[in-house]
């Protein structure tokens, strides 16, 4: 699709949609510099070419990666995801995190966890977990503790409602400054939300109608701009009154 060879200033490709095969960076003019490549990019001799379709992003001074939105999740270390308990074994819980393979959550990976107080999760429990090891050949390993060993909001989520979205929407919801949809909803409603980078979102509120309203608003906001999101929320609020 891109017939032009790479520009000397790769800034022209940043924040633009690229497709596999595009050369986004020419290394000949950049000797003695270190460039860090993230997901979706690889080095092809003297040029950096794209492997995954998506938007090219840069983080100063030298980190490049391609961001895309899928329904399937590829586990990455240090990602926080929402998993569903599928089975429990002697030393692991088998947790589904929308990845190609089931995640393994060690039974001791809880704050103050010993062999004596292993939590009992029934099949279908929703957990907020962190990815510790992610390798495309092995089952990803999960944990309900942060690096220091504290619980830090990880663990089972009670009540509420969970729905699935694409990974792109989940990332948008987690962006800082806060996403416009969450902000405008929060101005008039009070709700609790947990967002997993694997595309799962959990919402809880005092009344079921609030939960339904928030979840439908979020699902519909994926392709709306910030202004459109605000307008949609205003319309929904008017309907409530």
């Amino acid at each position: 699709m891109n017939s032009m060879p790479s520009d000397s200033a790769s800034m022209s490709f940043v924040d633009r949609v690229v497709v596999p095969g595009d050369h986004v960076l020419d290394l000949t003019g950049m000797a003695n510099q270190t460039i860090k490549l993230g997901a979706g990019l690889r080095q092809d001799g003297d040029a950096i070419s794209v492997m995954k379709a998506g938007k090219l992003r840069i983080s100063k001074p030298n980190k490049y990666w391609v961001e895309s939105s899928h329904k399937r999740y590829v586990p990455c270390v240090e990602d926080t995801v929402l998993g569903i308990v599928v089975d429990s074994k002697f030393d692991n819980f088998l947790v589904d995190i929308k990845a190609p393979m089931l995640g393994l959550l060690p039974v001791l990976a809880f704050e103050g966890g010993t062999r004596r107080n292993i939590p009992k999760f029934e099949i279908g429990t929703l957990l907020y977990v962190r990815v510790v090891k992610a390798n495309n050949t092995m089952n990803p390993e999960l944990s309900c503790m942060d690096e220091t060993g504290k619980a830090a909001e990880f663990g089972p989520l009670k009540d509420g409602y969970m729905f699935e979205t694409s990974t792109g929407l989940a990332r948008m919801l987690l962006s800082s400054p806060p996403c416009p949809i969450l902000e405008s909803l929060g101005k008039s409603l009070s709700y609790e939300i947990a967002i997993g980078l694997n595309g799962r979102v959990w919402v809880n509120a005092a009344s079921p109608s609030t939960v339904i309203l928030v979840s439908n608003a979020i699902m519909n906001s994926e392709f709306l701009s910030a202004a459109q999101q605000k307008i949609m929320v205003e319309k929904l609020m008017k309907r409530l009154q």
Binding site: I84, V86, D87, L94, D96, P100, M101, L102, E122, I123, G124, T125, L126, L157, K158, D159, G160, Y161, M162, W202, P208, S209, V211, I212, L213, S215, N216
Partner: protein
């Protein structure tokens, strides 16, 4: 085993509890009312090539659910106990791409149940006319096969599959076949380019409406989504047509009280009428597109009203008619000889002629204003002339052997203004046999009428 666990869809405890709690408060998770259907779109297969006008394929999208239906026909031997009826069979294919729970290969329990529900609605309510599918009694009938492919399971497959089956049956056309050859025993299946293919006769549209039962059997919702189906305690499908006739009922799961069932039947009547009008609407827009491309194409009308009296002709008249029809070229069939002394069909049809001309200015005849009576006449003619050719009694050999086709192909009276009034002037003198011909000829002028008259007078 672990891979299978990874691929199946899991439902969380939170979702289950929440859906049940919300339903107890009359709320549905996708913000619908309890008796609201999801948006439904019906699309038809693309048949834009001139040679491929048989139709018969439709795809229905009901929310996230997608079902495709394909209708094909074949000539087979009829069943021994029903020698004059065609057959209709429904096959389902639950592709694993629709749902990880579906497995390729043998159909599971639900696949068979779905096929059976659709089949019962269509066959046992007599929606599709079987007798018109007979070609040679006892030897050859048309077998209609409906294949339902589930493309995406978003809940409520039964309703979507039913709509798809109905839509594809409505647009399906089968090739016309006649008996011909040297001894009238050779079957000719006409190519779709030679003769317009014929639609199926469908008397009414049985529409399936599915209710999901929750709680103690007192909470009902229509058109359950995938998540609601995982949580529901039972299911009830009512197949009804827009007249309010119940064609079939299927129930599974927890018990429902009779008062709730009566309430559901009332709701179903409303929903069935809505869906029927949606199907008809989609059909109309499809047919409009088709007729613009193919001026010879005639749309089929579903609710066929039988409001013309039958013409009773005795055997002698039928023989004479066949003889005359065989003798005359096709476009002269309008002014058929009155030697048989047959009775004229009522004046209603002539009024309809005028209406049709006025419609778009184009002398385009659509059988949607016709009643099925001509088809009956044809089949009776077919059978009687078959009898004639088969049995030695009362046969006038010369007349019968000249019959080239059993189905009566009669020209349509494309008269404008003056000629139609001429038709009115001689009401009782000639037979106008209206038939299922799909022919359209060039608009007839006064000159043609005069020419034909001359020919007859010469005879």
């Amino acid at each position: 085993m672990e891979q299978r666990l990874a691929n199946t869809w899991q439902m969380t405890v939170n979702e289950r509890k929440f859906i049940e709690m919300a339903l107890a408060a009359d709320l549905r998770v996708d913000d619908r009312g309890p008796f609201d259907y999801r948006p439904c779109t019906i699309t038809f297969g693309r048949h834009f090539s001139f040679t491929n006008r048989v139709g018969g394929s439709s795809e229905v999208q009901l929310g996230e659910t997608r079902v495709m239906s394909y209708v094909t026909s074949q000539l087979v031997q009829p069943y021994r106990d029903r020698p004059n009826e065609g057959t209709l069979s429904i096959f389902t294919e639950f592709s694993p791409m629709a749902d990880p729970a579906f497995e390729a290969g043998r159909p599971g329990e639900f696949a068979i149940e779905l096929g059976r529900i659709v089949d019962r609605g269509l066959r046992e309510s007599g929606a599709v006319d079987m007798e018109s599918l007979c070609v040679v009694v006892g030897k050859l009938v048309w077998s209609i096969r409906v294949d339902l492919h589930i493309l995406d399971n978003g809940g409520n497959l039964i309703d979507a599959a039913n709509i798809a089956a109905l839509a594809s049956l409505l647009t399906f056309r089968r090739p016309e076949c006649t008996l011909g050859g040297d001894d009238n025993h050779e079957l000719i299946i006409h190519d779709i380019e030679d003769r317009e293919p014929l639609p199926l006769i469908i008397h009414h549209l049985p529409v399936a409406v599915t209710f999901a039962v929750f709680g103690e059997g007192n909470i009902m919702v229509i058109d359950p989504s995938y998540k609601e189906e995982s949580v529901m305690g039972g299911r009830m499908t009512i197949t009804m047509n827009s007249n309010g006739d119940i064609c079939a009922v299927q129930k599974a799961g927890i018990g429902i009280s009779s008062s709730v069932i009566i309430r559901c039947l009332e709701i179903c009547a409303v929903k069935a009428a809505e869906i029927t009008s949606k199907i008809n609407h989609a059909m109309e827009s499809f047919n409009d597109g088709r007729s613009i491309q193919y001026p010879n194409f005639h749309p089929v009308d579903v609710a066929i009203q039988d409001n013309l009296p039958d013409v009773i002709m005795d055997k002698k008249q039928i023989e004479n008619l066949i003889g005359h029809l065989a003798a005359l070229p096709l476009d002269a069939l309008d002014r058929n000889s009155n030697k048989s002394g047959a009775v004229v069909v009522g004046t209603n049809t002539r009024a309809k002629f005028e209406n049709n001309q006025a419609r778009d200015g184009v002398p385009f005849y659509s059988p949607s204003n016709w009643d099925p009576y001509p088809r009956k006449l044809c089949s009776r003619l077919a059978r009687s002339s078959l009898k004639l050719s088969g049995l030695p009694e009362d046969v006038e050999e010369d007349k019968v052997n000249t019959t080239q086709s059993v189905t009566v192909e009669c020209g349509l009276e494309h008269t404008k203004g003056a000629s139609s009034s001429r038709a009115l002037e001689t009401p009782s003198e000639y037979t106008t046999v209206e038939a299922t011909s799909q022919y359209i000829k060039a608009p007839k002028t006064l000159k043609d009428a005069v020419k034909i008259q001359n020919r007859k007078m010469r005879k």
